[in-house]
């Protein structure tokens, strides 16, 4: 079994990603993520200290356009897709522990 990532780290990552894992899933993902990260260690065979990182294939720069008002999606159409909408807004359960 790989030591690239611990079970506790997987549990922490799941919390960050807003996912709930069962004990069995925690075991499985710890092993599988470990294998993938282990494989990724082959990158350490290279001396990358002086290499510049590339986040985008063509080194894209900001693209701007004139600030002109244009039609956008209809509010009622968009709100109709929401699981819950009230008073022309998206509605969610309590955020601060009080009833909405």
């Amino acid at each position: 079994m790989s030591d690239a990532i611990s079970r506790d780290e997987v549990a922490k990552v799941a919390r960050l990603a807003r996912l709930i894992l069962s004990d069995e899933e925690l075991d499985l993902y710890t092993e599988q993520l470990g294998q993938i990260l282990e494989h990724a260690r082959d990158m350490n065979s290279l001396d990358l200290a002086d290499v510049v990182a590339t986040a985008h294939p063509f080194g894209i720069t900001n693209v701007v356009r004139e600030d002109v008002v244009r039609p956008s999606l209809d509010r009622a159409t968009v709100l109709a897709m929401a699981p819950d909408a009230r008073e022309d807004r998206f509605a969610v359960p309590s955020i601060l522990g009080e009833a909405p």
Binding site: A40, T54, P57, M81, P93
Partner: protein
């Protein structure tokens, strides 16, 4: 099945009609969709309306575009107004987009008839279409085997003659790999050539939309229709769609083509034989074949499986049960988001979200994501060096022919290794295509891969056409 080029010509001349072509397509879908699970949704009503519009325009004497009356299948991660779009995920089940992807607008403007949405690995994460929440797609050439993925449904639609052409998306090989496994031409265009507006994002710096077809000319035709600048995608290249169909028969005389060791080493013997035979065929057509080694490519798999999940973990954060899609109720908002995402995402999507979240998290960013971005730089430099010596590159598309269901599902690394030859191009942003060349185990098709520098699509199609002819498809 007739080519899209032929169907468009027949509809335009009156020898056929858009309605008749659609009927034929719907009949082929009805005959095998239950068995193969290709389409998640067949949009009979919308397709009939689009076909009627084409026929009415022709009756009025108006000119209709290059895909006049041609039925086309659409991967279900592309938005089409009012048509269920799921990404093969329970988190989007039942959602109907309020807008069209730019590629859908361009297909409709060219007279094409979108017939429905095809199955994929959930959120395009996979190489076999086994990760769909709505069941796997079967390979029409051998239903005991996978069609490849993630665009497995779009490949199967064309391989089963349900449509002559389809659209897929390619982040690490998701068009080229299923094209190879289903005996089709599949194209990953230059990054930015085709607008990603309305493509539900997986890894934004890698995703590109492209065509499947049975012929090189059809693939060129579809790409010509969907390519070209779109102001709604900030990564869209600033130029109009290139001329491609006109160059399909340009040949390869005088071209230098590099046979890249790292792009076929470790593949099955039948695949290596096919790649070498393809090199011979290109040589016989007047190309100069140069054997090359690009050692950096060996590290691209590792870089890809950090970069793509990192981008995915960010992109998929939008599925939170607030604005659209699934919501699982819970007493507070955080619990609602956790319950929704836990119920809505499948195992592979969760695996990649966690991998990406980890690779981006404090303390590990430099060791994983940062390293991967540097490998990406080296990959681009390796290709640049190669293209100073040669015009195009040649290799395998996949290590083997289509594999059996379940063969690689237990071991994610085994599945990921299937993409080892297709991933490098995505990291570089360059175009590549797969074209059928020869057969392997059980008579199943083999795809060989042609790669080129950015904006070299015309040259890639011309070389692919040489291979198509040499493989007996004049």
């Amino acid at each position: 099945m007739r080519s899209a080029t032929q169907i468009a010509a027949d509809v335009r001349s009156g020898a056929s009609s858009a309605a008749a072509e659609l009927d034929a397509s719907l009949a082929a879908i009805a005959a095998r969709n239950d068995e193969l699970n290709v389409f998640l949704h067949v949009d009979v009503e919308g397709a009939r309306a689009a076909a009627a519009e084409v026929d009415a325009a022709l009756a009025r004497g108006e000119s209709v575009g290059a895909l006049c009356g041609v039925p086309i299948a659409i991967k279900d991660n592309l938005c089409q107004v009012g048509v269920p779009t799921t990404c093969s995920s329970k988190i989007l089940e039942g959602w109907r987009p309020p807008y069209n992807a730019t590629v859908i607008e361009r297909l409709l403007a060219a007279g094409a008839v979108p017939v429905g949405k095809t199955n994929l690995d959930e959120f395009a994460m996979g190489s076999s279409t086994e990760n769909s929440a709505f069941g796997p797609t079967r390979n029409p050439l051998d239903p005991t085997r996978v069609p490849g993925g993630s665009s497995g449904g779009s490949a199967a639609a064309v391989a089963a003659h349900m449509t002559s052409i389809s659209l897929g998306s390619d982040t690490g090989g998701s068009i080229r790999q299923p094209a190879a496994l289903c005996g089709l031409v599949g194209v990953k265009p230059t990054y930015g050539l085709v607008s990603r507006y309305g493509l539900i994002a997986f890894a934004s710096s890698l995703d590109q939309i492209g065509p499947f077809a049975t012929t090189v000319a059809d693939a060129a035709l579809v790409l010509e229709v969907i390519a070209g600048h779109d102001e709604r995608d900030s990564t869209s290249l600033p130029e109009p769609s290139p001329s491609l169909v006109a160059h399909v028969n340009d040949g390869v005389a005088g071209k230098k083509i590099g046979l890249v060791r790292e792009l076929f080493d470790g593949a099955d013997e039948s695949v290596v034989t096919a790649v070498r035979a393809a090199a011979d065929a290109l040589g016989a057509a007047g190309a100069e074949i140069v054997e090359l080694s690009l050692p950096e490519l060996a590290l691209t798999l590792s870089a890809y499986y950090l970069i793509a999940p990192a981008e995915a973990s960010s992109n998929l954060a939008r599925f939170d049960g607030v604005r659209y899609g699934l919501r699982v109720d819970a007493p507070d908002v955080t619990a609602m988001m956790e319950a929704t995402r836990t119920a809505g995402f499948g195992a592979e999507v969760k695996r990649r979200i966690m991998l990406g979240t980890y690779a981006l998290s404090a303390g590990y960013y430099d060791a994983y994501y940062g390293q991967a971005l540097k490998v990406r730089t080296l990959t681009i430099a390796a290709f640049t060096r190669a293209y100073q010596q040669v015009d195009l590159l040649l290799g395998a598309t996949t290590p083997s022919v289509a594999f059996a269901f379940g063969a690689k599902t237990a071991d994610p690394m085994a599945m990921y290794l299937n993409d080892v030859f297709t991933i490098p191009t995505n990291l570089a942003g360059d175009p590549a295509l797969s074209v059928p060349f020869g057969t392997g185990e059980a008579g199943l098709p083999i795809g060989v891969q042609l790669l080129g520098p950015g904006r070299s699509e015309a040259g890639l199609f011309a070389a692919a056409r040489v291979l198509e002819i040499a493989d007996g498809r004049p």
